[in-house]
């Protein structure tokens, strides 16, 4: 019925406007209301799938429930069971002293560092190559760079399992011929992190190269010309002209990398250690740990507490990011 009421206004806005000058302000207000309707889908979506789950999850973190209790509550509205499940801050106390949570945090940052920093350097190199005007078929190479990004993660996982297999993997078989190894790509901590980081690098290198490339191409020619007039060498031009001009882009990439890094899930899950992230939890990441508590151990409340923990980590990192970005911005304005 509401649709019927507003509909004439949509059909004849000009007529409504010309009909009477006095009624104009309220016509604008009505149009504003229509405007709200246009943006409503986003807000409805955000409230339903963004805000409410956050509130729900935070609330859940104060309970100790498994799936059966949860279903029982949904089915029979068994409020007593819910009351019994209230544990207050106990989940957070446990989280604070939970070695697996801190281990997962360490693993997550380790994999993040191994994947982000080399990736940035390689992406920069690739972007410089692609930015070279002498390069032939540049659009072909640019398209090629995006291919890893659109490949199914599961397919990638299967291929990488074969590359990093301990006994018959491509790398270890190769190393065998030069009498090195076998490297424990799955069983040991650092090698497994390197292997997972490689999967991530492979996937995101091209994407980041293209972002850097577009930023490089947007640098004004005059800067290079004046550097050339000043007699700057090629290396110095890159160091003093190109890189400073890419600051904002690099910050953007770091932020995106951090978001992706903290949500690291599919790669470690499909790497062959199941939900445990390996027998010694050597590549258990934060989200994988959350998923394990939720699905395997059926501790819904504790999983929610881990979720809150991850949020706090994200807030801390965002604050750091903000500080760094502000510093860069102020350097620019100097």
């Amino acid at each position: 019925m509401t649709t019927l009421e507003v509909r004439p206004e949509v059909v004849e806005p000009k007529a409504a406007a010309t009909r009477s000058r006095k009624r104009r302000p309220s016509a604008i207000a009505r149009q504003d209301r229509i405007g709200f309707l246009y943006v409503a889908p986003f807000f409805v979506h955000f409230v339903l799938f963004g805000a409410l789950p956050i509130v729900f999850t935070t609330g859940l973190a104060f309970f100790n429930v498994d799936w059966s209790t949860y279903y029982d509550f949904l089915d029979r509205h068994n409020f007593q069971a819910l009351k019994d499940a209230w544990v207050g801050m106990r989940n957070f106390d446990e989280l604070w002293s939970d070695p697996y949570f801190w281990l997962a945090l360490k693993n997550t940052f380790s994999i993040w560092a191994i994947s982000t920093i080399p990736q940035l350097i390689m992406a920069f190199g690739l972007a410089m190559l692609l930015a070279n005007p002498k390069l032939r078929g540049s659009s072909f190479w640019r398209t090629l760079l995006m291919v890893p990004n659109i490949t199914s993660v599961l397919a990638v996982a299967i291929v990488f399992q074969q590359i990093f297999g301990r006994d018959f993997g491509l790398i270890n078989v190769g190393l065998h011929y030069v009498n090195v190894g076998p490297i424990e790509w799955i069983n040991e901590r650092l090698p497994s992190h390197v292997a997972i980081a490689t999967m991530i690098n492979w996937r995101w290198l091209g994407y980041n190269s293209l972002i850097l490339l577009s930023a490089i191409l947007a640098i004004p020619r005059e800067l290079y010309e004046s550097a050339a007039i000043d007699g700057a060498s090629r290396v110095k031009t890159v160091w003093y002209v190109t890189i400073p001009q890419l600051r904002n882009t690099i910050t953007f990439m770091l932020i995106m990398g951090t978001i992706g890094g903290l949500g690291l899930f599919v790669e470690p899950l499909t790497y062959g250690g199941g939900l445990d992230g390996g027998a010694n939890s050597q590549f258990l990441t934060l989200t994988l740990y959350l998923f394990k508590e939720l699905n395997q151990n059926e501790r819904l409340g504790y999983a929610a507490a881990i979720g809150v923990g991850i949020t706090i980590v994200v807030i801390i990192i965002s604050a750091l990011n903000f500080l760094i970005t502000r510093r860069i911005a102020s350097e620019d304005s100097r």
Partner: protein, 439 residues
């Protein structure tokens, strides 16, 4: 205005809607059965045969990994997005038999399960009976347990190759480990067994109780000496010699089962034995077709044993109860189980077949014509079921993790006064982890 235009659209598309909704009814009603599965529970050729018999039934099988399938199933039971038929593995059956979860499955007795109940091995059939008395599953196959071994590699290692002599080599698990050591000392490029962790389940299932007290259903994993013994057998096999505190030699490889390396290792003779329930033979054939004729099958140490097997269930929220039941009844009837066995080696649960010559005299050239029918039917008939409780799967995999740490030499934590890299530290950490995960 709005309404009128809607009406117009409806009126204009009415003939189309009519065709869409009514046309199929002219033939038999088209039914799509969504089946949720893992591993090799549904064999494609048998399913195809059903499709041919019933062209109006469409069967869509969604195959996932074992844990993923069960966890997704558990989450979906409360919704309408349930599969019509779901395969449940025995390691999860203890959980699914709990009244709260079992009540989300159709009691198959209401569809006529009682009439066919006599066809199945009694202990296997009752594994599908929930604690609230309803029959939630019909058994697909029975594991049984034997050892598949590579005749050619045994010969190279100077071990006997005849299956009865081989079985005599390893009457006990201690003998099995001893044979493993001597094999490894003679074969530098190959290991005795694919995964020493599998010994744990094998030894455990030879006992009378596991993690739960069969009567009180209370958790007893930490003080059931049989569990600790099984753990130690597997740990000893995984850590036969030590150097610098690290296990530097195991009778098994460091390969995890069901990974890419496992298949490759099978093909290249990286290991000489696999603990093989009947369903494992199909995996061996699929993963290493080039090793045809190089395998044989002998009895397992400790006499008999059991590993795995599945049940087919119908979630209560499925909209296709009758069609699902018709399919299950057909798929697990003796005739189809016989075909499944012949084509894929899954061992039937309809035990009247065991005296059928097709099974009694069954031999497979892939496994050097070992009398597979006889080996697995005697193993299946000798089985004593063990009570399995709600959290068996989690406890299984936590102990498995600890044993992997022993074999890999990655028990980096000390625990309960036991220094790192020791079997006792792995056991202690496993108990702590289970206490956390299960309670």
């Amino acid at each position: 205005m709005f309404r009128r235009s809607t009406l117009k659209v409806v009126a204009a598309s009415a003939p189309l809607l009519f065709t869409l909704l009514v046309a199929p009814v002219h033939g038999a009603t088209q039914v799509t059965l969504k089946v949720s599965s893992f591993g090799n529970v549904f064999e494609p050729k048998i399913v195809d045969a059903y499709r041919k018999l019933h062209p109006n039934i469409k069967i869509v099988i969604n195959k996932m990994d074992l844990d993923g399938e069960h966890q997704q199933l558990l989450r979906s039971l409360n919704s309408n997005a349930v599969p019509d038929i779901a395969a449940v593995e025995l390691s999860y059956m203890g959980q699914f038999r709990q009244p709260m979860i079992a009540s989300r499955f159709t009691d198959l007795n209401t569809l006529g399960a009682r009439a066919i109940s006599k066809d199945y091995l009694p202990f296997r059939y009752t594994q599908g009976t929930a604690l609230n008395g309803s029959q939630i599953g019909i058994p697909t196959d029975v594991g049984g347990l034997a050892v598949a071994y590579r005749v050619d590699l045994f010969k190279q290692a100077g071990l006997p190759t005849d299956r009865t002599k081989v079985a005599k080599l390893w009457r006990t698990w201690a003998d099995f480990i001893k044979v493993g050591k001597s094999y490894n000392s003679k074969m530098p490029r190959s290991k005795f067994i694919d995964s020493t962790g599998t010994l744990f389940a094998a030894v455990l299932n030879q006992g009378t109780s596991k993690y739960y007290d069969p009567r009180s259903h209370q958790l007893i994993y930490s003080n059931n000496t049989h569990v600790h013994q099984a753990f130690n057998v597997a740990a000893q096999a995984g850590c036969v010699t030590k150097a610098a505190g690290k296990c530097n030699s195991s009778i098994g490889t460091k390969i995890n089962q069901f990974t890419a390396d496992w298949g490759a290792g099978m093909q290249h003779g990286a290991f000489a034995t696999i603990l093989a329930p009947a369903w494992m033979l199909d995996y061996i054939k699929q993963q290493a077709p080039s090793t045809k004729g190089k395998w044989d099958v002998a009895a397992v140490p400790g006499g008999g044993g059991n590993m795995g097997g599945s049940m087919l269930t119908i979630p209560k929220n499925s909209g296709n109860q009758a069609a699902s039941w018709a399919f299950i009844k057909w798929y697990l009837a003796p005739a189809q189980q016989l075909t499944t066995f012949k084509q894929y080696g899954l061992f039937p649960t309809t035990y009247n077949l065991y005296s059928n010559p097709a099974i009694k005299n069954y031999k497979d050239p892939f496994f050097s014509n070992a009398p597979l029918g006889k080996i697995y039917s005697s193993s299946a008939l000798a089985l004593k079921p063990i009570y399995s409780g709600a959290k068996d799967r989690i406890i299984d995999s936590t102990f498995g993790q600890a044993l992997s740490r022993v074999t890999q030499g990655t028990q980096t934590q000390s625990c309960g006064g036991h220094p790192s890299q020791t079997v006792d530290a792995a056991w202690c950490q496993a108990l702590n982890d289970i206490r956390r995960n299960v309670g």
